[in-house]
């Protein structure tokens, strides 16, 4: 067996362009996913607020209970039946954001609920409204606890983004497959793609670790 990586090197700029698309779509989805997750996570804190709690819970159940690929295909191939035709990149971003948001919401909820009730009581007893107690006291502390599980989620998001290649988005996976279709060098190209994803996830892990250490060095022992 001989490995021939020359198609990889010959098409390296294409792969890099694809990697850039992957970074773009993941970055946007990550931001949107965190925003969705924050709102939904807070929406699921109090079951007594039935409508908000119910809606947020239904969202989480539906998104976590169905495959991402099916969700993406519904957006891209299903919605055109209603004459809703979104560009592939938009479909991919919405799909990944909504999917990631469901998981982030559980991270947010768990972190918030892990903060001692006494923190809220102290804030409220000073006269703070509930929302201020949340933003000034609870969330800053919960954020530190969110970082390790968010790292997991970001890495999952990066890897899951490979699925958007099936929506004709020219991400790194898609570019790789184009190279394979010409060169027939599947193993070499897929190995190269694996390395690129590994670098992306590794950089994410490293960045989050740095942020966490910096926050902990700030004196919060948790």
């Amino acid at each position: 067996m001989d490995l021939d990586f020359s198609p990889v090197w010959a098409n390296w700029p294409d792969l890099m362009r694809g990697a850039l698309v992957t970074i773009e779509i993941v970055s946007v989805s990550l931001l949107c996913g965190c925003l969705i997750g924050l709102l939904v996570g807070i929406g699921r804190l109090d079951p007594r607020r039935r409508v908000v709690y119910g809606a947020c819970s239904a969202y989480v159940a539906a998104i976590r209970g169905t495959p991402l690929l099916v969700q993406l295909f519904i957006l891209f191939f299903g919605l055109p039946q209603f004459n809703i035709m979104l560009p592939a990149f938009v479909c991919g971003t919405i799909g990944l954001s909504v999917y990631s948001g469901a998981y982030v919401s559980e991270i947010v909820r768990g972190a918030i609920q892990s903060i001692d009730r006494g923190q809220v009581e102290a804030a409220r007893s000073l006269g703070m409204p509930a929302r201020m107690a949340m933003t000034s006291v609870v969330l800053p502390q919960a954020f530190v606890r969110m970082i390790p599980p968010l790292g997991n989620e970001f890495i999952a998001l990066i890897k899951n983004s490979a699925l958007v290649s099936l929506l004709t988005i020219h991400d790194v996976m898609h570019e790789g497959q184009k190279i394979i279709s010409v060169s027939y060098r599947s193993l070499e190209v897929y190995l190269a793609i694996a390395v690129i994803y590994f670098v992306l996830t590794g950089a994410t892990t490293y960045a989050l670790r740095r942020i966490e250490l910096r926050l902990r060095a700030g004196g919060m022992v948790q």
Binding site: E121, A122, R124, S125, L126, G127
Partner: protein, 256 residues
């Protein structure tokens, strides 16, 4: 106006509260007059912490009335709407057994957060006031420390300073020394005695009988969700009228 005509700072009537089937307060009446120190004692589970927590709306009672500083907090078991409750809470300082300092903020920021966010005071002035309060509780040198680096006694003194920064008219203390190592209790009680001497109105739930004897104007004994006896400390400690008070005091004092 003579002292008897003064309106109580805290006026509790018929306060009733249950957690499910478990009745914790069965119709409590209590007045705390301005500058008075009322110490609430009693066995655990007697409802004394719940009584205190009802006084700033941290617990919602189901029945009764509470007036704070002349304003209704609870009327016929209905609590004040949130916006006005928040405003009223600014008048009432609360000190917790477990300190509850904001873990992500320095000592100074713990104290200035309330005044800056709620009383609209500029950072510079809030910090100056906070440093003065820290000086008062003997912790001026800890302004920049994080709560996790403090001892229990230091944490509780910061918590007292944090409550005082809102310039409350009443201070509620919920077992402020129960979570402390014995050698750290004194430094917290000293600060509380200083406040009492300055004329602060205080309601204190505690197991520190020495503090009750020395500082209290009124000692209230609770058992089974009700007040079984109340009076000046000399009367409660030397001539209790209720057998249950005697039992409780014997059990507590024997421990010492």
């Amino acid at each position: 106006m003579s002292a008897t005509e003064l309106e109580p700072m805290v006026r509790i009537r018929g306060l009733a509260k249950a957690f499910g089937d478990n009745v914790v307060l069965r119709g409590v009446d209590l007045d705390v007059m301005p500058s008075q120190v009322v110490v609430v004692i009693g066995p655990s589970g007697s409802g004394k912490s719940t009584l205190l927590r009802c006084c700033n709306g941290l617990e919602q009672a189901e029945g009764g009335d509470i007036r704070l500083c002349g304003q209704p907090l609870l009327e016929g078991g209905r609590m004040l709407p949130d916006a006005r409750l928040n405003k009223l809470r600014e008048e009432v300082g609360m000190v917790f057994q477990s300190f509850n300092l904001f873990a992500h903020l320095s000592v100074l920021d713990n104290i200035t957060l309330g005044p800056r966010k709620l009383r609209g005071i500029k950072r510079g002035q809030a910090e100056a006031e906070a440093r003065a309060l820290l000086d008062k509780v003997g912790l001026a040198h800890k302004a920049d420390a994080m709560p996790a680096s403090l001892s229990g006694g230091q944490k509780q003194r910061v918590a007292i300073a944090r409550a005082l920064a809102m310039r409350p008219r009443v201070m509620l203390f919920d077992e402020p020394t129960s979570a402390l190592d014995p050698e750290l209790v004194g430094e917290v009680l000293k600060v509380m005695k200083m406040l009492a001497a300055e004329g602060m109105t205080m309601m204190v739930v505690t197991h520190e009988m020495g503090f009750a004897q020395e500082v209290a104007d009124v000692v209230v004994v609770m058992d089974g969700g009700g007040i079984i006896e109340a009076g000046p400390p000399t009367q409660i400690f030397s001539a209790p009228t209720q057998p249950r008070t005697r039992e409780f005091l014997q059990a507590v004092l024997k421990r010492d």
